[in-house]
């Protein structure tokens, strides 16, 4: 499937902005050592700025009223409780939900584990969209109703049940599928944490939905920061030979942490949320509509909603308004700089031409 012509991107007037967005969201502030493996690999594979590629795919394939399916959520302390999940993923998902609603008139449908529905709903509300049932949300695809709606659905961990829901979702007009910070199963059907620990039973099973989308030429996009998320299996699973635990997770399943199912586009970022923000910024640039990129006040609201509803920082283990061990000020700074990259606050006419 050719989602966008590569040649058209090479002459894309937004190439430079996409390139700068990618550079900003792939600086390895936590010195985790992963992004410097992931980003250059996929940048070379696709040959274009990846935030721009994702934004162009969304722009060209999503029509007014289409559903955009956004999967996220990681229950990451299963040894303690099935209800504990992290803040990396949900705010990026909510920001993209807002962006496709404002920018493309789409109806975002967030797919998370049942335990995460209340927190995800709170974060989507913080992003400005009213959470409704799927049937209600579909009606907000009509701009005349003057309601920015979204749906947050509990997505099954059981493969058969997941497949049933996938087929039901595709009875609607679906414009795109996006997974952000969402574990993907390897060739053995096992999902892993980035450092090899197995966590299959607690992760919503997205493979059947991705396969159905790809069979129908509905574009699929993956965003991650570790190598174990949906999207990181792209390029025929080439990451398996590049990453720690790529071939052998150590859990005994016989596979590595890299997912088996591929998506059409992947965007690796230092923090998965930033990948989502990068796509929002690129979409704002592509649509020449800065409103599509959220601002610092909304970022603060989303992070506050995360901790108010019990999402933890997956690195520190606290319910602070932080993400991946990075203080709120750093996330606010990234949002400010992404907005600057799309021209907010800049008078380009003041520079000599």
């Amino acid at each position: 499937m050719t989602l966008v012509e590569r040649d058209s991107l090479i002459s894309d007037p937004k190439w430079g902005i996409g390139d700068r967005i990618d550079r900003l969201i792939s600086i390895d502030l936590p010195r985790r050592g992963r992004i410097d493996l992931l980003y250059p690999h996929f940048r070379q594979h696709y040959g274009t700025p990846l935030s721009l590629l994702a934004a162009r795919v969304l722009e060209r394939h999503v029509r007014q009223g289409d559903l955009v399916l956004i999967a996220t959520g990681w229950l990451n302390r299963p040894s303690v409780s099935a209800n504990v999940a992290e803040s990396d993923g949900p705010t990026g998902a909510a920001a993209m939900a807002r962006a496709v609603s404002i920018g493309l008139g789409a109806v975002p449908v967030l797919l998370v584990e049942a335990e995460l529905v209340p927190a995800m709903t709170a974060v989507v509300h913080a992003a400005g969209l009213r959470c409704l049932s799927l049937q209600e949300a579909v009606k907000t695809g009509n701009p005349d109703v003057l309601l920015h709606g979204a749906a947050v659905l509990a997505y099954p961990t059981n493969r058969e049940q997941a497949s049933v829901l996938a087929n039901q979702l595709l009875e609607h007009s679906v414009g795109a599928f996006i997974a952000i910070e969402k574990g993907g199963a390897n060739e053995q059907g096992r999902v892993h944490m980035s450092q090899g620990r197995e966590c299959t039973d607690t992760v919503a099973s997205m493979d059947s939905l991705i396969e159905l989308c790809r069979a129908r030429s509905i574009p699929t996009i993956g965003i991650g920061d570790g190598g174990n998320e949906i999207g990181m299996g792209n390029d025929g699973g080439a990451l398996r030979d590049l990453l720690p635990y790529g071939r052998d997770c150590g859990c005994g399943c016989g596979g590595g942490i890299v997912p088996f199912t591929e998506t059409d586009v992947v965007l690796p970022a230092t923090v998965s949320n930033w990948g989502g923000y990068g796509i929002c910024a690129a979409l704002a640039a592509v649509l020449n509509d800065p409103r599509v990129m959220h601002d610092e006040a909304l970022e603060h609201r989303m992070l506050t909603a995360c901790c108010a509803h019990g999402l933890i920082d997956g690195v520190t283990g606290f319910t602070d308004p932080t993400s991946d061990g990075l203080d709120e000020s750093i996330h606010l700074g990234v949002v400010t700089l992404l907005r600057t990259l799309i021209g907010c606050g800049i008078d380009r006419t003041a520079w000599p031409s």
Binding site: Q195, V315, L326, T336, L337, I346, W351
Partner: protein, 351 residues
């Protein structure tokens, strides 16, 4: 996965890659830094900011004077009193870092018209402005005093050469750093990045470059346009590529790129950020996060500049902005540089 503990200089080089990347993202889409940085990088073969920090820490001993020159009187056709906010904050932040980290005595050399404004920026960065002798005395004072000197430097070439020779004879100089400071081309002319000649009003601080080289003193240039002290180091790379590199608009025929080379050249999107980047790299090298200023201090410095009448050279407005970028942008750059240094980053769980 366990990795061997890295040395301070390895940590600094890793941080240098991130710092360089951050301070060279072309936010204003000016299109120049993407030309300057690769050329400067090719010259050193290593990240620019961490190389500068390492060289400074190897060359500057406690109590030595570090000369930092900045200042651009950039509306001389209207008034000699008008200068811009890009330069002084970077110089002030670097003065603070070199003083706190290496025990240097910062001596800032600027045009007479902006001594008061640059002093305000330096004091907003925490250093009390005094005479040079007082600043040197402060380094051994039993009751703490962190001081720097801001001095007027001649615009006349001969007076400048004389003043420079006298300073080199009088003080023990550890390094020379120019931030957003015009340098003379092969015909002795200084130009704006727009190709106009502006020689007469600017302090000829580039006289130090040759004097320092003769004495084995480290020289560093920081710039964002191609016309600043240090850019002579990449003159060949800029020829035919940078607008006005080969011929300016004044008719002197020698272009905007200065003639002299410095030991290290830092190219940044905004010259101030080059100064901040060196401070951040030094903070990593010395494991002293406090060497880099805070977003609050950034705001204080830019507001101090505005209160003293410095203008944003792009917008032409008096305000806490620089090069057409809002206060929030500069604060965010400082926040992310602090992230590189480790402030606000909890990465223990990744190890």
């Amino acid at each position: 996965m366990t990795t061997a503990p890295e040395s301070a200089s390895q940590a600094c080089a890793v941080a240098g890659e991130m710092i360089d990347r951050l301070i060279t993202i072309d936010f204003p889409e000016r299109g120049v830094v993407d030309l300057l940085y690769p050329a400067a990088r090719a010259l050193l073969g290593a990240p620019l900011t961490s190389t500068a920090a390492q060289q400074l820490s190897e060359n500057v001993r406690p109590g030595q004077v570090v000369i930092i020159t900045t200042g651009w009187l950039d509306r001389p056709h209207i008034s000699r009193q008008i200068a811009e906010t890009d330069g002084p904050p970077g110089a002030a932040v670097l003065a603070r870092a070199l003083h706190l980290g290496l025990g240097a005595v910062p001596v800032l050399l600027v045009e007479a018209e902006i001594v008061h404004a640059v002093s305000a920026a330096v004091q907003a960065a925490g250093l009390r402005c005094t005479t040079v002798a007082e600043a040197i005395a402060a380094t051994t004072s039993t009751s703490k005093l962190h001081a720097a000197a801001v001095l007027p430097f001649p615009t006349d070439s001969e007076l400048a050469a004389e003043a420079a020779r006298e300073m080199c004879a009088t003080y023990d100089i550890g390094a020379f750093v120019a931030i957003e400071k015009g340098g003379r081309n092969s015909r002795g002319q200084i130009h704006t990045s727009r190709g106009d000649e502006t020689t007469a009003v600017l302090a000829k601080t580039d006289v130090f470059v040759d004097l320092c080289r003769d004495r084995g003193v480290l020289t560093i240039g920081v710039g964002d346009g191609g016309n600043e002290i240090g850019m002579g180091s990449i003159a060949e790379a800029l020829s035919t590529k940078l607008r006005f590199a080969d011929s300016c608009r004044c008719g002197c025929g020698a272009g905007v790129v200065p003639d002299q080379r410095t030991d290290i050249l830092i190219a940044a999107t905004v010259s101030n950020w080059g100064g901040y980047g060196i401070a951040a790299a030094l903070a990593v090298l010395l494991d002293r996060p406090d060497l880099l200023h805070t977003p609050e201090m950034e705001e204080d410095i830019l507001r101090a500049c505005a209160r003293e009448g410095l203008i944003d050279g792009v917008s032409g407005l008096v305000g806490p902005t620089a090069d057409g970028l809002s206060l929030e942008v500069h604060r965010s750059i400082v926040t992310l540089l602090r992230g590189v240094v480790g402030t606000g980053v909890n990465s223990a769980a990744w190890n």
